[in-house]
Amino acid sequence: MSRQLKDQLYKLVFFYVFFSLHQAPAWAIELHGDPLSSEQRQAAFQRIEAVELVGATRANWLILNYYHLQTNGSYVSEIANADFFILDHGAVDPDAEFHAFKQAVAGFIRTGEGTEILCRFPARTRLVLEAIDAQLDTSLVCPLYAEQMQPNDVKSVSMVFASGYFDNPASYYGHTLLKLNYPTSTSGSRHAALDTALNYGADANDNPGNPLYILKGLFGGYTASYSQNNYFLHSYLYTSAQLRDTWEFELGLSRSELDFVLEHSWEMRSARFDYYFFNDNCAHRIARIIELATDRNLTETHGFWLQPIQVIRNLRGRDSGRSLIVEETFKPSLLSRFSNEYNLLPREQRKEFSRFVNAEQEQQEKLVSSRSSDTLMLALDYIDLDLAKSKLEEADVTLKTRSQARRATILNELFQRPAVENAVTGSEMPDLSPLNARKPSFLRVGMGLAEQEPFQLLQYRIANNDFLEPRALGQEVSHFTMGDVELKIKDSAVSLNRLVLVELRSLSTSILPSDTGKVRSWGLAVDYKSRSNLCEDCKDFGFTTQAGKAVRTGSRSLLYGLGGARLHTRSGIEDEFLTMQTEAGAVLDVTENWKMHAFGRGYWGATSGERDWLWGVDVAFNPKSRFDIRMAVEKFDARTQLTASVAVFFD
């Protein structure tokens, strides 16, 4: 009898027994590829009963359930919810949990009952059965898993990176998630609707504006969990609503590694972890699944924190040199796509486009029929961009109504025209891979003169992005730094010159020179610093908030103004604790590599009325992604300081 015929017979027998007894098929278990007879099942039952939690089985069991050995010799799992485990004390007793689970598997082998537990833990089940060199067809035992995951159809897994998002503190550094890729359709493209996102995020219900939100996110006040959803929901939310670029990195996993990812992520659906923004975040937990599947280290950095971009870079093979990435796909945001198309227009067409999109409604209705379909499509993108931005910034009803009316006019015009054959989605985008982007941390050394007196500076910054950094296409001019420590060495004495926990300024400009939107700029900072490097006595610890407006004056330049207040510890100046603060500045991209920031700041003590003024110019030269050179001039209280510095960037 041929092997294929035998297989068919086995299947017939299986379905007969399954449907007649209405119980789960113990026959779904295979030994060396063959289904088991009743005698073999009994033997398998006894062998599973005899499996001990030792050696590789023990090591993998501990890893699979996130157990950690404590200093007192006991174990505790990182999984925070007790109901994840079979036993009430399963989180702190790996041996008992293993024994209970083993009994469940053995019971299923013997009676075909107890599928509920096996369905919850396909990766655990595989581990136990591997100890007796057996396998289980999970899709037969657990139809729900087969239906929802469709494991045999998953072609590959991609790690997705979404760029930073300033409207939510939790997403400043970007985000990572996994994407399960399903087979291509008959038309050659992927079944976009089938692709599934495996996401990890904190289960937080506080408003992001609530200080508790940040504190709880930083210090483990939230639990976090995995979730699955249609990938297009994430993709569209990122690129078109939040205007974030995304990159999909398809991973070269073996079939067994892929199966592990699917089975383990299925198990993790009911797991909860404590969330820590700095090092137990989406990047950590998403990478962890791939780490477990591949035995690769993807979370190694030079510090205690982990950013999504660091995980993405580690995919290239930090230690072994073998890259896990087999294909990179860039999905530009609506902003990047529009910027690319707009910048490709000749100068005259850009002006004409600007006039068209900014025209009054009646004027626009007259002009719309004379514009090309390409221009109308670009105008729709621009309006959608404005709508997305206004949504992000508390919807302005008037603006929204006006934009919707314009959108309707343009859309209606397109519908009146013949359909475009082979409609394209735009021009090719330049290579903006985050793998080639500047690394987030730096060490900077500098020297300076303050009133003819020399000094040296030593600065370390965990996460860096300021007005003078190279920017990707469409990326807003923004300032976001975190974990910044600067020491000043003067006359052999070392002093803390600045300590920034977080400093953020989001200018949010329109891509067009003429701004039709009402999007505001804003800023906040928590830091210890002086209002000027020339004022040694002004240092204080404080919290600053600012709001204002930025306007582009050209494709390479913008002006901004911010006003706000700083609540701070009492400093040497007039024993003040609240200082009003205004700032005006200009950012100029002299060339792609040369950037300049000129600014003036005014300080006004709320109770003392004391006023100070500060003027400065910073210039940066960014010849390579790995280092930069900077020069700065600062004038405060009729005194002047000059500095020059160089920084090296690293993960």
């Binding site: 996401n199 289960d203 499509m377």
Partner: protein, 169 residues
């Protein structure tokens, strides 16, 4: 080939008013935004951005998923189709307006439409939705109302296609 022939016959036999099936305006019949709880979960009298504002700390979407009920009439494909239309509406409208694009392709694939008839389906959908956009009230419609109208058009085109798409809307 058979599907394509059937589709052409069906389309040719369809009166111009067929999109207003049984006297109902497009989208006025039962749809998954009310049937399947998508509207209640994502879109009940709130803006899209507000509805997703609870998606915080790395954008976990658990809240959205857990809020969606799925009675038997709401098969997975139907829900996926409705969600795709609702979530990607602005881009989908653009694609329909010009006759093609990534989002329109995604819609066809979500509904498991035969690739050989997608061009015809797109043309039918374009004709139907053009009437919605032409309405004076279109600009004042909410995203939910537009999505409902488009879903109604999609359903009518798919129903009339004689099995060109495997989805049951």
């Amino acid at each position: 080939m058979l599907r394509r022939t059937l589709l052409i016959i069906a389309v040719a036999c369809m009166p111009a008013t067929a999109f207003a099936a049984e006297g109902k305006a497009p989208g006025s019949g039962p749809n998954p935004y009310s049937e399947c709880g998508i509207g209640a979960a994502i879109f009940q009298d709130v803006t899209w951005a507000a509805a997703t504002s609870n998606v915080i700390w790395d954008l976990g979407v658990t809240a959205i998923i857990s809020a969606i009920s799925s009675p038997e009439t709401c098969n997975a494909r139907k829900v996926a189709t409705a969600r795709l239309i609702l979530e990607t509406l602005p881009s989908l409208e653009q694609d329909i307006a010009v006759g093609g694009g990534a989002h329109l392709t995604a819609l066809n694939e979500t509904m498991l439409c035969d690739s050989s008839v997608q061009t015809d389906l797109n043309a039918q959908l374009r004709g139907a939705y053009a009437q919605v956009v032409q309405e004076a009230s279109y600009a004042q419609k909410s995203r939910y109302e537009k999505a409902s109208a488009l879903y109604g058009n999609v359903k009518e085109v798919v129903d009339a296609s004689q099995g060109a798409c495997d989805v049951i809307l």
